[in-house]
């Protein structure tokens, strides 16, 4: 079976359209980030969360009023699991107190529908700022590491364009999180630790995709004249297109499975990775390589690539 027999798309000629599309995508995200901001989870803002599961269907409004009456301040939302609710409050060092307050109120006022507190998370403010910092450090360090490695294996133009593509992917997903955050009850799209993990996964995947295209360019560009670069870039991208699509396909398949089956704790992560893979695949073809091409064209330099004897 073959999905792409022999393709001959002119990616390079149409690159301006792609640039425009990317810029619109990024701008939309930035505007939303500026106006609406992000929906931070307790990992990054501190706070307590309680997941309550009932035996039978229960009404959000009723539970909310019961908890209000008991003096539990906070917001109650449907949680992405059957008959479950998520209560989020400010950070409380003594979760035992919170738990018994909630439990007693629900036992007293909602009879005949047994409930169970299945999860409690409490993150203090100092931990939250710790987590934020280490998340940022991890992201920056990984981008630097990628820049360094690709810079050594290829050359700095390729590496920079690759990192720009990663930025493009992560910022787009971040923008998506801002735009879609809080709209769906089954996935609140909160920024938490798992989303940072998703970003690093996206970064790794995006550069993987880009490197495969670069590798083909490197193999073919040796000793060629700069005037042939457009043809070589196009051919390389077309030759790797099949692989790019198939690998994205298998990864998307497994991430989709995660999204469907792995439950609410993983759903935000799965969504981020899914979106990131789609965009990362797009950017490796439409952003990274064309940027290198433009850069080469503007500086009128020829490529001096390291590595690979290009057997």
């Amino acid at each position: 079976m073959r999905i792409f027999q022999k393709t001959n798309f002119n990616f390079i000629r149409n690159r301006k359209i792609a640039y425009g599309f990317s810029i619109i995508l990024l701008l939309a995200g930035m505007v939303s980030l500026g106006v609406k901001g992000l929906n931070y989870g307790i990992d990054f803002r501190g706070g307590s969360e309680v997941v309550i599961r009932f035996e039978k269907n229960a009404d959000v409004g009723q539970i909310r009023s019961v908890l209000d009456a008991a003096g539990v301040s906070g917001t109650l939302k449907q949680y992405g699991m059957d008959r479950s609710f998520l209560l989020s409050t400010v950070f409380q060092g003594d979760t035992g107190q919170l738990k018994s307050l909630v439990s007693n109120a629900l036992n007293d006022r909602i009879k005949g529908n047994h409930h169970e507190i299945v999860r409690i998370d409490a993150v203090g403010p100092s931990i939250a700022s710790d987590l934020k910092w280490s998340a940022l450090k991890a992201l920056i360090a990984s981008l630097l590491a990628i820049l360094l490695y690709v810079g050594i294996r290829f050359e700095i133009k390729f590496a920079t364009a690759g990192v720009v593509a990663i930025f493009h992917d992560i910022l787009t997903v971040l923008g998506l999180f801002s735009i879609l955050g809080g709209i769906f009850t089954f996935m609140p799209l909160e920024m938490d630790q798992s989303i940072i993990a998703a970003f690093l996964t996206i970064a790794g995947y995006s550069i993987t995709d880009t490197v495969v295209v670069y590798d083909r360019i490197r193999e073919r560009i040796r000793g060629q004249k700069p005037s042939d670069y457009e043809r070589i870039f196009n051919e390389s991208m077309n030759q790797t297109l099949s692989r790019t699509i198939i690998t994205s396909g298998t990864v998307l398949l497994s991430v989709f499975v995660l999204f469907i089956f792995a439950g609410p704790a993983i759903r935000g992560f799965a969504f981020a990775v899914f979106a990131g893979i789609l965009i990362g695949t797009y950017s490796s073809i439409f952003v990274a390589a064309p940027l290198v091409y433009d850069w080469l064209k503007i500086t009128k330099s020829s490529v001096r690539l390291r590595g690979s004897k290009a057997a």
Partner: protein, 615 residues
């Protein structure tokens, strides 16, 4: 050819090691299934006894499940370094207290190191640290070094004491580690009574024996505070005439509503909170307790107490005539006569009447001697037994106690007495600790997570392997075999290194399933290209592997470095994800390249491959 045989050997070894490492997990699974299949309890007990060694061995070596899958508690506790440094200081005066207060406020907001905050605060006030710490001749540098060492020691001691407490409480496979300069991370799988554990962990367990001042002194002190408050409130009245009359102090949410302390004009503000009996003992009802504690913390109130004394509340309330809970008030000397360091043994029992639980303590020789002297010198007086700043009891000394025995009573339940026994035996923490992060998952949610994880694994594997089969035909089989081996390797490495599998870890494996075939896709696409150029299958396979290699290496290195950094900077659940992703990616270098290549070698040598084999 020699190389080829070596590869085959390597594959066999890896497969065997993986199987061997996962064997106990399989045994554990089948054994516990067998155990549950028996109709009666006796039968399963009999089976458990007869197979005890095997069951235990399998369980010990099997793949561990993470806290989120088994249910349990994850706690991060912070050692209060501000308190620790305060303990180390001498010569404390107003200035020192105010600086330390500022440092404390800052330390709860930022994650900067407390020692840096401390140095910064003193430097901005142009005060040398040696004014309060260690020797006057020490430079700031030296003092910082000493304090740093002190806090590192304190962290380790706190960790050991907490480990002791947990061990004595009895939790299977607790994991206790330190992080940074002030955090202790505690993982307790399968804990059901979270409240009890929390209380067990967070108490400092600082036991003190303190002399009580005479009741008349306390009554006079209370009077003095009261008249001071009267004066002050009239002053406040005069200065803020426009203030709304119904201002009540804000209380933490969930606490009992505060009594209207600032009622338009109370005649005796203190006695709204405190009652005094005829015999000179004082008490506060439960609903006023918080307000009284806030009041007592004020420095202007503390200045009204007699020199070197402190007002403490009882740990447990007495029940008043009207059924209200009343906490007794004690005026005690600030300096303890004796501290818990001398306690060698503690035992929870029932008291002489057989109903009141109590804790018997015995002391080491040094403590015994001191205790005899103290009790001998204070016959007829009362000595308060204070634990973490709350008075448990304040018995009157009847006679000299020569044998170093003492008793804590005023305990509600035997369970609480048992917990006291544990913390007293484990010793006091060098500084207070507080819980800054807690995550607990109930066992039923854990079971849900396991089901969700297994389902995701199954479906992802099915989808990806089917796709490879459809798309690449015969070559797809090779890729699928490699995929199975890859998953086995990930699980066996986890089991072998005693790491645990969490839900994010499973997510990592699912993602690996999608990514691991990438190497095969790269190779197969290349082989198809070579075939399209009209090369023979054997040549195409060889060149396909060779030419795809550089792409595969580059892409794996980048994925690995991202996962590694995630592991380095991430904590807890995220690390689980990073670990499985790292193992899976590294393993796919082996499975997707070496294993599939060997399969093709064998097939080629048996003439079972054609140019149709790659779909």
């Amino acid at each position: 050819m020699k190389n080829k045989r070596f590869n085959l050997f390597l594959i066999a070894v890896v497969t065997l090691v993986a199987a061997w490492s996962l064997w106990p997990t399989w045994r554990d699974y089948t054994l516990s299934k067998q155990l549950n299949s028996f109709g009666s309890v006796q039968d399963s007990l009999k089976f458990a006894l007869s197979h005890r060694e095997e069951i235990e061995d399998a369980r010990k070596k099997s793949l561990k499940l993470g806290l989120d899958l088994r249910g349990g508690m994850h706690l991060v506790m912070e050692v209060d370094q501000v308190d620790l440094f305060e303990q180390k200081a001498w010569n404390k005066d107003e200035k020192f207290t105010s600086i330390m207060q500022a440092v404390r406020a800052k330390s709860t907001e930022s994650d900067a190191r407390v020692i840096d905050l401390l140095v910064g605060a003193f430097r901005s006030d142009n005060i040398r640290l040696s004014r309060y710490f260690y020797d006057i001749r020490n430079s700031d540098q030296e003092i910082v070094g000493k304090l740093e060492k002190e806090s590192a020691d304190a962290l380790n001691r706190a960790k050991e004491i907490i480990r002791n407490r947990i061990d004595q409480y009895g939790v299977a496979e607790p994991v206790i580690t330190t992080q940074g300069s002030r955090k202790i991370i505690i993982e307790l799988p399968g804990v059901s009574d979270e409240n009890r554990v929390r209380n067990l962990l967070k108490g400092t367990a600082k036991l003190e024996f303190r002399l009580l001042r005479e009741p008349e002194v306390m009554v006079r002190t209370l009077d003095r505070i009261n008249s001071y408050l009267v004066q002050n409130s009239t002053l406040a009245k005069e200065s803020t005439v426009t203030a709304s009359p119904s201002v009540t102090p804000s209380t933490p949410s969930g606490a009992a509503p505060a009594p209207p302390v600032n009622k338009t004009q109370s005649v005796n503000p203190l006695y709204d909170l405190v009652g005094v009996f005829q015999n000179g003992s004082a008490y506060t009802p439960e609903h006023s307790r918080e307000s009284l504690l806030t009041l007592l913390r004020r420095s202007d109130i503390q200045a009204l107490l007699p020199m070197d004394t402190e007002l403490l509340l009882a740990a447990k309330p007495d029940i008043g005539k009207t059924g209200e809970k009343l906490y007794s008030l004690y005026l005690v000397k600030k300096a303890p006569e004796l501290t818990g360091g001398v306690i060698t043994e503690a035992k929870a029992t029932f008291g002489s009447q057989g109903v009141q639980p109590e804790v018997l303590m015995s002391m080491n020789t040094e403590g015994t001697g001191k205790w005899a002297r103290i009790t001998g010198a204070n016959i007829g007086k009362r000595i308060a037994i204070v634990l973490d700043g709350a008075v448990y009891s304040a018995p009157v000394v009847q006679s000299k106690i020569p044998n170093g025995n003492s008793v804590i009573n005023g305990i509600e339940s035997l369970e609480e007495a048992k917990d006291l026994e544990i913390v007293l035996k484990a010793g006091a923490l060098p500084a207070p600790v507080r819980i800054t992060e807690e995550r607990s998952v109930g066992p039923s949610l854990g079971a849900d997570y396991i089901r969700a994880g297994v389902q995701s694994l199954g479906w992802a594997f099915l989808a990806v392997s089917l796709f490879m089969l459809l798309y690449y035909k015969k070559a797809g089989i090779a890729a699928d075999i490699a995929l199975v081996l890859n998953i086995l390797i990930v699980l066996s490495v986890l089991a072998g290194f005693n790491a645990s599998l969490s839900l994010p870890g499973i997510a990592g494996i699912v993602l690996t399933i999608g990514m691991a075939v990438d190497a095969n896709v790269l190779i197969y696409e290349r082989i198809r290209e070579e075939l399209a150029e009209g090369k023979s299958v054997a040549t195409a396979v060889m060149q396909g592997y060779d030419r795809a290699f550089s792409s595969i290496l580059d892409s794996h290195v980048t994925t690995l470095s991202a996962a590694f950094l995630l592991y380095t900077y991430g904590i807890g659940p995220i690390q689980g994800f990073a670990v499985t992703l790292m193992i899976g990616t590294s393993a796919s270098l082996f499975t997707a390249i070496v294993v599939t290549r060997e399969i093709f070698h064998i097939l080629l040598s048996k003439n079972l491959m054609s140019d149709k084999s790659f779909g």
